[in-house]
């Protein structure tokens, strides 16, 4: 994180000095390359200097000493480079040479005074150990520093999440919450859930066809462009068929759809939709449908979100399909699924991308899954699919639970999945007295 700050300062034409107590200069350069930063080029232009300060812990001691020699080198080198920005990485390694906490605190005070005298901007990194292990007197650093940032890596239910928290920042209106962050090929990316401005996103746009004429009617015209839609139901009720109908219809209209699947491969999805007569193959070939396949367990929610947002940024789809959100909890926990979905839905709303999600229910009652229950308030349209036992066979029915900004049906609508897609048996018209509003 510090390296990224230094790098951008150096790219911006400022000279910076990196003092590493742990890693060799070569290792620092290599680490930088993996997150997309080329330090070597900056070193050649004299904007970046990496100095590996190797600490010899076997030195013989005879009386008191101080870190003044380090300060002298930094001061001399910084003057030579005309650098104002300095990073001292893993100072704890050096401070371990001092025998007691009091001495370490003295050195930190000395460092702090000196930094202020020299008017350097300094980033200091140090490891923190959970109690009872001693923290080498770094508690006092918290009081001295103008800004303290705490980074942490937690593993919950096999999923690791990095989190960042601003502990203090003098003279700034910082948010004190924890935010997840990622280390990617483009550097560090912080995804603050709390920074989403509810007032900022536009209302849903005009109607777009659902690809199912009976459903268009039941919804009073179709889905709204840019809305968040959830279709829930038991396994086999036709959720994916509904989603695929929408995808194929959008593609026919020349619009682009990103199909996110947490469960199946693109060939399997395309193949399974052939039986209800939905042609995703030609849509995929035309490039109007792209698939994004991810195994929920493979990554934490932040990585999933980041890779999906990158895909969205590159492909710029008008519509997004997620099949299914019930799989999201496998990213670690219900909280992880919620974090992922909320941020994804708000991002889609900001970009006016229709977000159609399927959700597999596990019990009799629709929307029983935690994922949907948690996000129901930010969803515009919710549709439940059910089986009905008629005695001699199983039929399917649909009910529109809510659909904001549309005159939608409130009836149980029977449908069946034919060779030509989803067909509704009873037609609802817009003039129907039973129409609901939500």
């Amino acid at each position: 994180m510090g390296l990224q700050f230094l790098y951008h300062a150096a790219v911006g034409g400022k000279a910076v000095l990196f003092v590493s107590f742990e890693e060799s200069a070569a290792a620092v350069r290599q680490n930088a390359v993996t997150v997309g930063m080329d330090i070597t080029a900056l070193e050649q232009t004299g904007h970046f200097f990496v100095w590996q300060a190797a600490v010899d812990h076997t030195l013989m001691k005879n009386g008191d000493f101080s870190i003044d020699a380090l300060l002298a080198i930094i001061q001399g080198k910084a003057r030579q480079l005309d650098a104002q920005i300095i990073m001292i990485d893993a100072l704890d390694v050096l401070l371990r040479v001092f025998n007691d906490t009091e001495q370490r605190e003295d050195q930190l005070y000395r460092l702090n005074t000196w930094l202020k005298d020299q008017q350097f901007t300094c980033i200091l990194t140090t490891k923190v150990f959970p109690p009872p292990k001693q923290n080498l007197g770094f508690d006092v650093a918290d009081y001295m520093a103008d800004c303290v940032i705490f980074l942490d890596l937690r593993v919950r239910q096999q999923v690791a999440t990095r989190r960042i928290r601003v502990v203090k920042y003098r003279g700034s209106g910082f948010t004190p919450n924890e935010h997840p962050y990622l280390i990617t090929r483009q550097g560090i990316s912080v995804l603050p859930i709390t920074s989403i401005e509810l007032t900022a996103y536009p209302p849903p746009g005009p109607f777009v066809s659902t690809g199912i004429s009976g459903l268009d009617t039941a919804l009073g015209g179709g889905y709204r462009h840019g809305a968040a839609i959830v279709i829930s139901g038991d396994s086999g009720t036709g959720k994916t068929t509904f989603a695929a109908s929408f995808a194929a219809c959008c593609c026919d209209a020349g619009q682009q759809v990103l199909f996110v699947s947490f469960e199946e491969s693109p060939p399997a999805i395309i193949d399974s939709m052939l039986s209800p007569g939905i042609d995703l193959q030609s849509a995929a070939e035309s490039g109007n449908v792209q698939f994004h396949i991810a195994l929920p367990e493979a990554l934490g929610p932040e990585e999933h979100l980041f890779s999906l947002l990158q895909k969205i940024a590159r492909f710029k789809p008008e519509h997004l399909i997620i099949d299914s959100i019930s799989a999201c909890r496998r990213m670690g926990s219900d909280t992880a699924a919620f974090d992922f979905l909320v941020r994804l839905i708000y991002t889609c709303k900001m970009k006016q991308i229709t977000c159609l999600m399927t959700d597999q229910t596990l019990s009799e009652s629709p929307f029983a899954t935690t994922a949907t229950a948690a996000i129901s308030s930010i969803c515009d349209t919710m549709i439940a699919l059910n089986f009905i036992d008629t005695g001699d066979r199983i039929d399917r029915e649909m009910i529109v639970i809510k659909s904001r900004g549309t005159h939608h049906s409130r009836k149980h609508e029977n449908f069946h999945i034919s060779d030509n897609g989803v067909l509704f048996l009873s037609k609802t018209t817009e003039k129907d007295a039973d129409n609901g509003h939500s």
């Binding site: 005879n62 002298a72 001399g76 040479v97």
Partner: protein, 95 residues
């Protein structure tokens, strides 16, 4: 301090941080040891890290004061050198 030419049994360098307290103490302690025990068999170079940071960097001197003994054998000692006995032991003058 020391002989300008000829045989030198003890060659040492003391890195100090300006007039910082421990640095001054170390200077006093080592010059005292040299005068008393090494007579004219030594050279002692004093390097102020604030005036010559490149020398400190070359030797990776992070802590001050630091005494580097180059001959008769290489040894590095950090601190104000208040323990005279330890220095004399290292130099092989006292057991």
């Amino acid at each position: 301090m020391g002989t300008p030419d000829g045989f030198c049994e003890y060659r040492m360098r003391l890195f100090v941080a300006g007039t910082e307290r421990n640095s001054v103490m170390a200077y006093n302690n080592i010059t005292n040891i040299c005068r008393t025990h090494l007579q004219d068999k030594y050279t002692l170079e004093i390097i102020d890290v604030f005036k010559n940071h490149a020398a400190a960097m070359a030797e990776n001197i992070l802590l001050a004061p630091t005494l580097i003994i180059d001959t008769p054998f290489r040894e590095t000692i950090i601190g104000n050198l208040e323990n005279e006995h330890q220095i004399l032991t290292i130099l092989g003058i006292k057991p």
